[in-house]
Every structure is written in C-alpha cells, then in structure tokens.
C-alpha cells in the first residue's frame, strides 16, 4: 500500500451456505470485482464474534464486511438474526470509536453472484474514499 492509488485491504466473513456459495457463483460466472477482498469462511454468520471484526481492523484491515443468508433463509434457522443484532450493537459502539464506516453487514444469497460483485465493488470504493485506516499506527503514535 501507500504507492500510487490506495488499495484497501478488506476482510470478509462469509457463511458457507449462502454467501460463500454466492461468492463462488460470481467466480464461476466470471463476474469481476476488485481484488481487495479476502474471504474468511465460517459455517454460519452467527459464528462471527465482534472480537474477530475488531481483530481484523486492529491487525491492519481497512474495512470488514460481514455477509450471511437473507433473513429467514439461515441454514441454521436463526444464526443471521444473531449476526444482525450483534452488528447493530457493534455499529453503535464503533460510532463512538469513530469507526462505524469501516464495518458493514450484507445479506448475500447463494444465487446472488452479481449482487456480491456489486456489494464488494461498492464497499471497496467506499473504503477507498475513506482512506487507509492504519489503526495500530494511529492509536499507538504519540
């Protein structure tokens, strides 16, 4: 990073049944989107603890995207509802910490390869406009 245009580093949590499949679909359909996203697979978005999100930001990610099945579609009945509630609360916390723009929750179904590409592109551009986070550097500098 640093050189020329700022290339954000984005960590994405994707649930195995909907979002990961949707992201795969974008691949099989060769729908292009920015390379900046790095996908972490979990069985259900309900497995994602906010601690993991903060860890990503603290360790150098410029943004974090949590993805899961659309409400009502969760493979595990209600996992995505828990994710949703954690996200709302986390977002409020991040607002106080001046970071709420850095984290987003999106529902991506197994068939929404195109939507995934849109979401990814949009988020990458969004973060690009916000600029590098450099959380550790900023928060430990004197």
């Amino acid at each position: 990073m640093g050189e020329g245009v700022f290339e954000p580093r984005i960590v994405v949590f994707a649930c195995n049944w909907c979002s990961y499949a949707g992201i795969d679909l974008a691949g099989t359909s060769r729908i292009k989107y920015p390379h900046n996203v790095r996908i972490v697979k979990v069985m259900c978005s309900g497995r994602v603890n906010p601690e993991m999100v903060l860890k990503a930001l603290a360790d150098g990610a410029d943004g974090v995207l949590i993805t899961g099945c659309h409400p009502g579609d969760c493979h595990y009945i209600s996992g995505n509802y828990k994710t949703m509630r954690r996200y709302f609360l986390l977002r409020k916390l991040l607002k106080q910490l001046g970071l709420e723009e850095r984290v987003r929750l999106e529902w991506i179904s197994a068939s929404e390869g195109e939507r995934w590409a849109r979401v990814a592109t949009d988020f990458v551009e969004h973060i690009r406009r916000l600029g590098p986070l450099k959380l550790k550097e900023v928060m430990s500098s004197e």
């Binding site: 049944w17 795969d24 729908i31 390379h35 790095r38 996908i39 972490v40 069985m43 360790d59």
Partner: protein
C-alpha cells in the same frame, strides 16, 4: 501444537489458475512460511497423479497438515480429504485455499494483484492450519424410506424408481389427483403422441405399487430432523369424503347439482362441486369443494350423501395430520405459468380472446371443455386468424429473465393443433428465436414452417388492443423484413413464461434449500450435481430445479431417484464435524451458549458442584452460534475455533509479511 509439519500444494487447474498467476511463485513463497516442510505446484491436483503426489509427500515428509490451494472447497474438499484418509491422516488436518473462484476467475484483469492475493490466502491458511487438530465424526443410521413431494410426471417417475429399488415411498400431491401439468396437455411434442395415453398407465402403476403410499389432497407443513432421519408432518386437507369407505363409483359426481370453474381446464368450462380432477384421476376418490357445494354455501342439497352407496360422505370431516419418518426427500413440485395479467400490454384477463398455451391445450383436448374444438372465447366462433406469441414474459427484463425451454416447441405443436382443427386458419408465430434444440425438434420445426398460411414473424407485439367485435389488433415489427405489420387476429395465444409454484417458498424454507435468481431450487452443482441440493438428503426432480420439457424432466427425475437410492442404501450418514465442544475447566455454566442454540443441543449440568455446559452431539448441527456467544472462550467449534479463525483473520488483515 508440537512439531507442525505442513505440505502446501498449488494447483494450476490447467489455465484456470496458471493462466492468470504463476503457481510456482506462490509455491516458492509458501515454502518459506513457518512450519512448511514442502510446497509444490502441479497441473491438476485433483487428478490421480496429483493426489498420489500429496499421498507420497505425506509419507515421505511425515506431514501432519496439508494445504491445497485450488478451486472452491465446495468442489473438491471431499476429494482431498479422501487423500489424507488414504495416507493415514485425519481428514480434518486438510485446509483448502480457494484461489480459483475467489481469485483467478474474477481478477484476471489484475494478474499481479491476483498473485499477491493467492500468496496471502495461502499464508493465512498456513497460519490457520497450524491450529488444526484431529476430529472424529460419528455414523448415524438412515431410515430406508423416502418422501416425494409432487405427483407430476417427475414425482411419478422418481417414486416408481425408488419403490422398485425396494424403498418405501410416500408421495404427497396437493391436488385431488396425481398427474400434474402433463395430464393437462393434449399431445406432446415433437412426436405428437397423446399425453394422457402415455401418462395414465404410469399413474396406475403408482397407485398399485406395494411400496408407494399416496397422500393426495395433502401438503407438507413441517420438516424437522436431518439427512437420513427427517420427521415430516403432512396435512391432509378435508375432502368431506371418507376415502377409506369410498369405492370411486362416481355416482355422487354425476348427481351433484353444484357447479364450479374447472381448475384442470384452466378456468375454461366447469366441474361439479364434488369432483375428480379428470376422468382418469388417481386416486379415484372425489373431494367436495366447500366454496361451491350447496350444503356448505346454502345449507341445502346433501344429494351426494343421499346417493352414496357406502355412506362415505362426511360433511363434518376436519383436516388431519400424519407424521412421517423418512431418510430422503425428493422435491418434484413442478412449475406454474407466469401470471399473464402482469403483462398488461398483452391484455390477458382483460380481453377474452387472449389465452395461454395451456388453455389452448385444454381447448384442443378431446375431453376438454369444447370437446376438442378450438374457438374464440368471446363468441364461440371458429378463429380464422390466430397469433401465437412466444416468450410471453420470458427473456424479458421486466418479467422473467430466463428461457422457458419448451415454449418454442409447444408453439409449433400449437400450430399443429390449430391447422388440425381449423385447416384454413392463418397462423402467425411471433417469435424472438425459435430454439429447436431437442431431439427431433428441428425436423418438427422445418415441417411446421413448410405448411401453408403459417407465418413466422420475428418480433413481439407492441400493445394488444381489443376491437369492437372482440378481435385483437396490434402492431408488430418484423426484424427479419424490417416491416411494421398491423395485425388483426381472432385469437391470441401466449406461450407464457414459467415460474416456481407459489407454495415453493414456504416449503423451501422448511427444507433449507437455496434458490436461484429465478426462485427455482438451487442445485449443488450446475453441471456435476444438478439434482442434489446443499441440504444433505434432499434431492430435486424436474422443473422445480429450472424449466424443462418432458424428456428432460423424466431424465432428471430418474437421476434424482438414483441419487436418493444411493444415499439411502449406503445405510448411514456421517455426523457433522463442525460440532460445538466445551472446555469444562474454563466453563462457568453461565448458560449463554444454551440460550442461543437453535437446536436445544446445549444443556447446563451439575458437575463436581459446578455448573458446566454440555453439548448433545446428536442434536448439534454445527452452526457455531454458541462459540460466538461464549464470553470466556470455553465453548469452541471444531474446525472453526477462535484461534483458528483469528489466526487466519489476522494474517489476512496484516497481509503476507
């Protein structure tokens, strides 16, 4: 993690990966990562030499972790797990890295960035793999019976195949009779043989088969349990006829004075208030339609109960429920035609003489409402000019994006119906493309095209208007000749688009099956596993997976049945490896994990005077919600522990250092 020894394998996948990035470079990078003992790249890792390569290395370098960077784990994880098993390693010491779907296939414009990404993904996998450990799964027995939902041609074929393999089959049909759409067709293309003549014998076979139990006029209302052991709740709608007594003699139907529009005839013509869907209905057991029955509406009549020789009529009958226990479920609920009133510009529903292809089938059918005569619905006159509109709603941004896959052939067949019934009729076929892809279709197309007074116009009607005499006027631009043609037609037939049935969405949610953009069931793999779903033990037969004509539907159904048979006869299902697991020493029994478990798989139990969480491995499905909720980290999920995920996250976040 004492002495972690990792082997990393980068697949070229022919040019799919190697065409964009240099696998050798990625391997070279990987070889320098901590704990990596060996790193190689190879043309096709999934090929047998590729697998052998890994197997040998495991032995040679006594590896205890294996990383394969190739396609999506959803594709080949099982393949490579088998390799580990073969080499005597626990399969859950494997870590896949998706550098095809998630990288080379989508970032070919930025190859060096794609390569950088591949390296980072591998680095993260190495970090994660370091924390992997052996996981043992359990085998649970499967119930050797199957549920087939939907009694159309797909359901019928699947049920017969399963039953012939000695599997107990429950066939659930929401209507009074099985047979589905195929029963409504007059003839079938391209051979033009009578639809019922080939369908009804199969329906009888189903009824007679010792291994098949039909639940007609019934619906699936609840599904619980899991692959190999589903509990299914079936609702038997009240028929007001005690089918166990009924002999199917049909006197009640004969004598019934009540009249209702006939669903089977697509609203054309009428049926009795107590009725069979059609003459050859299976089961031959009538139902009373309370919306039209004089007893239910006016409190008079009761003729049916008077004439019934066995006293089977039961106006008091309530809906009943049965619980079934099955190992596999085959979904064969078929399709529905797109609501043509949504295409206001074609005036369906507004103008009497605009009808659907399926309605034309009923008009053409000898035992249909007009005894096979094709007429204008407005005045019963014989139509002289008929326009057939293809892709009505299909391949249309505003309505249904996909192709219905049988409209073209059906239209050709409909031209035949018309020329057969009104030889001097002028037929205009308004098409976008004529897709005659099936066996014998092209020949059929050529034949129909050669007939007199059959005109093929490449274009769709602009907007259809009704003239004072009920005939229809519209403009159509023929892109072949560049002419704007003004048409005045007596009858317009819409070859309507195809959509999933309305009752699919609720069923889909019960079954936890994903759907495609069109709303149809999503197959496990579009090419290799088109009749399976992401939900184990649930299979797809026929058009619910996507539009199909009859031959394809039957082939698909047979394939689904075969897959289901294989699944059931294997005899066991493996428990999920991703189970929740408690570190009792750390657990304080705060019961938050139990609070969030969607399967009530966690209980809090007394142990040496302390409260600790306990996981029921049979109930646990491995979502990990408990692990994400546990405030102390005592609750973990196999293969997705905090340490495993966090190490991956932090490597990806920091980039490959």
């Amino acid at each position: 993690m004492s002495d972690v020894r990792i082997g990393v394998y980068i697949c070229h996948c022919g040019k799919n990966i190697a065409g964009v990035i240099d696998p050798a470079k990625v391997a070279e990078f990987a070889s320098k990562l901590p704990n990596v003992v060996v790193a190689r790249d190879y043309m096709y890792m999934c090929s047998s030499p590729g697998q052998a390569l890994i197997e040998e290395d495991i032995k040679k370098y006594n590896l205890n972790r294996v990383i394969v960077a190739a396609c999506s784990p959803r594709m080949h994880e099982p393949t490579f797990q088998a390799v580990l098993r073969k080499a005597g390693l626990n399969p859950w010491l494997l870590q896949m890295v998706n550098i095809r779907e998630h990288d080379t296939w989508v970032h070919e414009d930025t190859p060096d960035k794609a390569e950088e990404k591949a390296k980072e993904l591998v680095a993260a996998a190495v970090a994660r793999a370091t924390h992997l450990y052996e996981i043992t799964t359990e085998k649970a027995p499967v119930v050797k019976s199957a549920l087939v939902v939907g009694g159309g041609i797909a359901g019928i074929r699947a049920a017969l195949d399963l039953a012939n393999a000695g599997i107990k089959v429950y066939l659930v049909e929401k209507r009074q009779s099985i047979g589905g759409k195929m029963a409504q067709l007059d003839k079938t293309f391209p051979t033009l043989d009578c639809s019922k003549c080939i369908l009804t014998p199969l329906m009888v076979d189903v009824a007679r088969h010792p291994n098949i139990e039909i639940y007609a006029y019934s619906e699936v209302v609840d599904v619980s349990g899991s692959a190999g052991d589903f509990k299914v709740k079936i609702k038997l709608k009240p028929t007001y006829v005690d089918w166990s007594k009924c002999t199917g003699c049909g006197v009640c139907v004969e004598k019934c004075p009540g009249r209702a529009p006939s669903e089977f005839n697509e609203g054309l013509g009428i049926r009795k208030a107590i009725y069979f869907e059609f003459a050859q209905a299976v089961p031959r057991r009538p139902v009373i339609d309370p919306n039209y029955c004089l007893w239910f509406t006016k409190g008079i009549c009761r003729v049916c109960s008077k004439v019934c020789p066995v006293g089977a009529i039961d106006y008091e009958q309530k809906e009943r429920y049965v619980e079934l226990n099955v190992g596999a479920i085959v979904v064969a609920i078929g399709y529905e035609i797109y609501d043509m009133t949504k295409m206001v510009e074609y005036g369906y529903g507004k103008f009497k003489n605009v009808i659907t292809g399926l309605q034309l089938e009923r008009l053409s059918d000898a035992d249909g409402p007009t005894k096979g005569r094709i007429v204008r619905l407005s005045d019963g006159k014989e139509p002289k000019t008929i326009a057939i509109v293809l892709c009505a709603g299909s391949r249309d941004e505003k309505h249904v994006k996909y192709c219905c896959r049988f409209g073209c052939a059906a239209a050709l067949k409909h031209v035949y119906y018309i020329k057969h019934s009104v030889p001097d009729a002028k037929v205009l076929v308004l098409y976008t493309d004529v897709r005659a892809f099936g066996k014998g279709f092209e020949e059929f197309y050529q034949k129909v095209r050669s007939w007199d007074d059959v005109y093929f116009i490449r274009g769709r009607p602009a907007e259809i208007f009704e003239d004072k005499d009920g005939s229809l006027i519209f403009d159509v631009y023929d892109s072949n000749t560049g002419q704007l043609i003004n048409v005045k037609a007596d009858l317009v037939v819409l070859e309507s688009a195809v959509v999933p049935p309305k009752d699919w969405e609720p069923l889909r949610r019960l079954l936890k099956v994903s759907c495609d953009p069109g709303g149809f069931a999503l197959e496990l793999h579009p090419k290799l596993r088109p009749f399976e779903t992401t939900a184990d033990g649930i299979f797809l037969a026929g058009t619910i997976q996507g539009p199909k004509d009859i031959p394809d539907t039957v082939a698909h159904a047979a394939a689904a049945a075969a897959a289901a048979i294989g699944f059931l006869l294997k005899g066991y299902v493996e428990s999920v490896p991703y189970l929740a697991t408690v570190n009792e020493d750390l657990c304080s029994g705060c019961s938050l994990c139990a609070s969030v478990c969607p399967y009530d798989a966690i209980t809090i139990e007394e142990k040496e005077g302390r409260r600790v969480a306990k996981v029921n491995v049979i109930k646990c499905k491995g979502c990990g919600a408990c692990a994400a909720t546990c405030p102390s980290g005592a609750m973990q999920q196999h293969y997705f522990t905090d340490t495993q995920i966090l190490s991956e996250v932090s490597t990806l976040a920091g980039g490959a250092k």
